[in-house]
Amino acid sequence: MSHGRAGWNASMTSEPREAANFSRPEGFSGDDFHLRAEEFIGIVQGLWKGWDADALLFDKVGGRFFDPEKMHLLDHKGEYFSVRGPLNVARSPQDTPVLVMSGLSEPAMDIAARTADVVLLDEPSIEPAKAGDLKRRALTFGHRPEALKVLMNVTGSAEITAPDLFADRLEERFRSKACDGFNIAMPFTSALDDFVGLVLPELRRRGLVRSGYSAATLRAQLGLAGEDRQ
């Protein structure tokens, strides 16, 4: 519907309160949670590839709507899930929706390095080494480091009164390779207006942020088109 602009943030934080609303008052054990999440993400990515990009023929006269060779069953039978597939939704215009992961604990780092397109890290806890660590792990799974984008969660309100200082902070993080970009948390609407009106122009002046959209899909916009991470 958005012509290739969707992404899924697979949160890796186990919330007992949420579990209690979904018929699991006992929650998940730690190991169980991560193994289940890994299997879940693998299935979702597999389902997203159930139809080849050129599967739909739309051949009215020949009576062939799609090419049967280009539809693939998943036939997944795992520890937690059993899914035959395929989806009854066409292949994504951006190949697959962008997979974002956040809330990473140590066991989730490898899952993210192997499967995620984008990882969100929190600013207060971040060491510059963590982004490098993720990219090294990605390499061991056979991916190019550029195929994993690390974004830092930053709260946008505190320093809006000093847009230069805020821009300095982002620039320093970016140039030191602590991250590939930022996910700016906007605690209230005017913080977004201030960021767009004050901080963005400064970042653009420094040549750190694009001035317009260069691609149609989210995947291409992030520089992830053509990367196969699965």
């Binding site: 519907m1 209690a20 018929s23 709507f65 090419d67 059993s82």
Partner: protein
């Protein structure tokens, strides 16, 4: 104005290229409908301009046909997930109701209650949920290894599911039951229309009982006036036991019209569509309605074989069998007949003839309205909106403007306490 029962309700049942199984092959069908949001926006605006009560979307979480060669000859293996679709349509429309199917077998009540009340807020009180228990093995295979639950188990789960959702929509939490628990209330305020509208389509005895207890709208398949009337009277008769009034539930059978300016033109249009159905596709669709897998091994020009009772859609199976015996139809004839309208009531004719048919069932007390299933899109929705609706309006049988802003307003339903 009509001197009889007031005005009928109308739903616009959207389904990609059309309800006719071969619709996508029709020269005027929009063949890329299943991947084209602009197509759906256009349909929604057409339905809203004609003052339909609601848009109605079906759903199944899986490719409906197990045989890939059959599936590849139809357009229904591809489409948008309907709740996402309705969220997009909510911001492109202002008044029309937005109803989507969702399964009690493959969701959790907290998540689904939250999704529908979100849709209700972002549409200003126009959302509805068509509760289904999901009768197909194909969907079951996407949600675990245990297969389709038996009919009675599905309904037991559905009863609890519906009760949890209704409670959450009233701001309650703290449910602990046999299949589900949900501790908190929802993280959203109360629905702008009190609660989203509850729609149901199960026509088995358990389905009717659940509808009598919980539904605001009942969607049903009825070929003849007598079937429609019997269903209508039975369901309305069950309401008192649950402390409900007859007008608390609107019964809206499906109708599959093929409309054109002249009767000859409408017949030709219908014949053209029937000719486009490949035999193997028709037989496969018939098999799925009968919940059996091997109808293709019987002679296509012979009668329907004796069938065992199934765990699938019991009510639809009975309907097909009854029709085959009544009209002495071969498998091929039956397949074409059902493939065309998917077991629903088909009316082919001029706007006046179609209005006559709808009026007779409405005034005869066999329906409170109809869920309109155009054979192909956009052409047959356009034709119904611009030819049949004005005829119904002229007769005082349908609104000329929206009286209220919510789906409950349109349907004349009470706000829940």
């Amino acid at each position: 104005m009509s001197a009889g029962r007031g005005q009928m309700k109308l739903g616009a049942f959207l389904w990609a290229t059309g309800h006719h199984i071969a619709a996508w092959r029709h020269p005027q069908a929009h063949v890329t409908a299943g991947i084209d949001i602009d197509h759906y926006i256009q349909l929604a605006r057409t339905a809203e301009a004609a003052k339909f009560d609601m848009i109605f979307c079906e759903d199944a979480a899986g490719v409906r046909e197990a045989n890939v060669n059959i599936a590849s000859q139809t357009s229904r293996s591809i489409g948008f997930e309907p709740i996402s679709l309705l969220a997009a349509l909510a911001v492109q429309t202002e008044r029309i109701g937005l109803v989507s199917t969702a399964s009690t077998s493959y969701n959790e009540p907290y998540g689904l209650a939250r999704t529908f009340v979100s849709l209700d807020h972002l549409s200003g009180g126009r959302a509805g949920w068509n509760l289904v228990t999901s009768a197909s093995q194909i969907e079951a295979a996407n949600f675990g290894s245990t297969g389709l639950r038996p009919h009675a188990d599905r309904y037991e789960r559905a009863r609890e599911f519906a009760a949890v959702v209704a409670g959450l929509w009233q701001g309650q939490g703290g449910h602990e039951g046999r299949s589900f628990s949900a501790r908190d209330p929802l993280d959203l305020p109360r629905s702008p229309q009190g609660a989203p509208v509850m729609v149901q389509a199960g026509a088995s005895d358990e389905g009717r009982d659940l509808a009598a207890r919980t539904a605001d709208v009942v969607f049903t398949a009825a070929q003849t006036f007598e079937e429609a009337k019997a269903f209508y009277d039975d369901l309305k008769g069950r309401l008192a036991a649950h402390g409900r009034e007859p007008e608390d539930v609107k019964i809206m059978p499906g109708v599959a019209p093929v409309v054109a300016a002249s009767e000859a033109e409408a017949r030709a249009k219908h014949d053209e569509l029937q000719e486009l159905i490949p035999d193997d596709v028709g037989v496969a669709l018939l098999s799925s309605y009968l919940s059996i897998s091997d109808l293709a091994r019987y002679p296509i020009d012979g009668p329907l074989p004796e069938l065992p009772a199934s765990e699938g859609m019991q009510s639809r199976q009975a309907l097909v069998i009854e029709q085959s015996r009544r009209d002495n139809l071969s498998i091929r004839q039956l397949a074409r007949h059902f493939a065309g309208a998917r077991g629903h009531w088909r009316v082919v004719g001029t706007p006046a003839q179609i209005a006559d048919e709808l009026e007779a069932r409405f005034e005869g007390g066999a329906a409170d309205g109809f869920n309109v299933m155009p054979s192909y899109f956009p052409g047959q929705l356009d034709a119904f909106a611009t030819l049949v609706v004005p005829e119904l309006q002229r007769r005082g049988l349908f609104r000329t403007h929206y009286e209220g802003s919510t789906l409950r307003d349109h349907l004349g339903l009470k706000r829940p306490a």
